[in-house]
């Protein structure tokens, strides 16, 4: 089996549609929409968001498995943590596949993009866990916290509790990433800096051209969801308290919030 599989070699069954993220952005621009992910104020936001998460969980499962395979010389405990993550992500994939059916969608209704897999393209395990576990799973903490609040506003305990169940695992994954990023770079500050930079690049990738704010600063828009008219965030939100639970420092959270705000300025 090949190590370090590049983005364009990500295989999928024949009945899946995989589209490069640039093409998906172009498809949105062609329709007069913002190029980034579906925003909370758009029709089908909930279906599109849950679908993106479902395919993301599949890619997270593949990524953890790949990290296990790509670095055979990593410590045994690291490999065990990666194996546990594969197990967690497979459970998440199943949960989100069923949540899709619950909201009237199905796996494959929307195209899958390879953007999450592109964040695994690094040959250092410290960078890999910095990018995936701290960067992407940190993003997942924000996204899931927002969906939990959405479920609460809709009065929907199925969405609220299913996503809360998954969020508990994601917090663990972030902590695993922090632990191994520090352990694998012990005594090598340059390697630690590279890992942190790799994570920050991934954080920047998901600032969505200014459509990402702190939870407290998110403007509210009226939306119709699950047959209910509610006021909800018009942006994707950074959840300070969830990130604190996941072990991010106040300084790291502030840096992320400032970077998201700077993205809006351009």
């Amino acid at each position: 089996m090949q190590r370090m599989i590049p983005v364009d070699r990500l295989a999928r069954p024949d009945n899946h549609i995989l589209v490069p993220v640039d093409r998906i952005r172009e498809a949105r621009i062609d329709q007069g929409l913002s190029p980034s992910n579906a925003m909370p104020f758009e029709d089908e936001f909930l279906k599109g968001r849950l679908h993106g998460i479902a395919t993301g969980e599949l890619q997270a499962m593949e990524a953890a498995g790949r990290t296990l395979f790509d670095f055979p010389d990593a410590p045994w405990e690291f490999q065990l943590d990666m194996a546990r993550q594969v197990w967690d992500e497979s459970r998440h994939s199943e949960i989100f596949t069923r949540l899709l059916e619950y909201v009237g969608s199905y796996l494959g209704e929307f195209p899958e993009s390879e953007i999450l897999w592109s964040c695994t393209q690094i040959d250092d395990p410290a960078c890999r866990v910095a990018g995936i576990n701290r960067g992407l799973e940190g993003l997942a903490c924000d996204v899931f916290e927002q969906i939990i609040r959405l479920g609460q506003k809709m009065g929907d305990p199925i969405i609220e509790r299913a996503v809360d169940y998954v969020l508990a695992d994601e917090i663990t994954h972030v902590r695993m990433g922090s632990k191994w990023m520090r352990k694998l770079t012990e005594g090598d500050p340059e390697r630690l800096q590279r890992a942190q930079q790799f994570q920050e690049n991934i954080d920047a990738l998901f600032n969505f051209d200014g459509f990402r704010t702190s939870k407290e600063e998110a403007p509210q828009n009226p939306q119709l969801l699950g047959g209910k008219q509610i006021e909800f965030d018009a942006t994707l939100t950074i959840s300070r308290e969830t990130r604190r639970m996941a072990g991010f420092t106040e300084e790291e959270i502030e840096r992320l919030v400032r970077a998201a705000a700077r993205s809006a300025a351009y």
Binding site: A11, D14, V19, A27, V103, G104, F110, G226
Partner: protein, 133 residues
Amino acid sequence: MPDLGNRAHAIGPQPIEPRLVPPAAMFAAAHLVLDLFAVAGRDAGKGAELEALAMPKVLGELRALVEAIGSRPYDRHEIVVHAKVNAHYYIKGRLFGRGVEPFTLQMRLGEHHGRWMVWEVANLSGGRTAWTR
């Protein structure tokens, strides 16, 4: 929820929204475009018909795809799967013909002034699948 030994007893949470069905006109356009792709390399008139259904920005890629399909005797097709990006639809299609390898392509269709047009195409033949090493 307990199913008391019979899985059929477990109803579980019911969907809160219906599934959206893509418009029939989109599928009709997809079938037409795939028919034209099958013969465009052998029939200049059909090639022109195909180009008339393409947005200007995709003409170059479309012509390259027609060239890749060439003059092989494709005479039927199937729509393998579809996916949506807001009001546009990706279609993965496959061309078949006697004595030739199937040809797989992907395209994005979207309405433009009330007409379903081709906005994007991709040649998926020979690409990596779940089964290639």
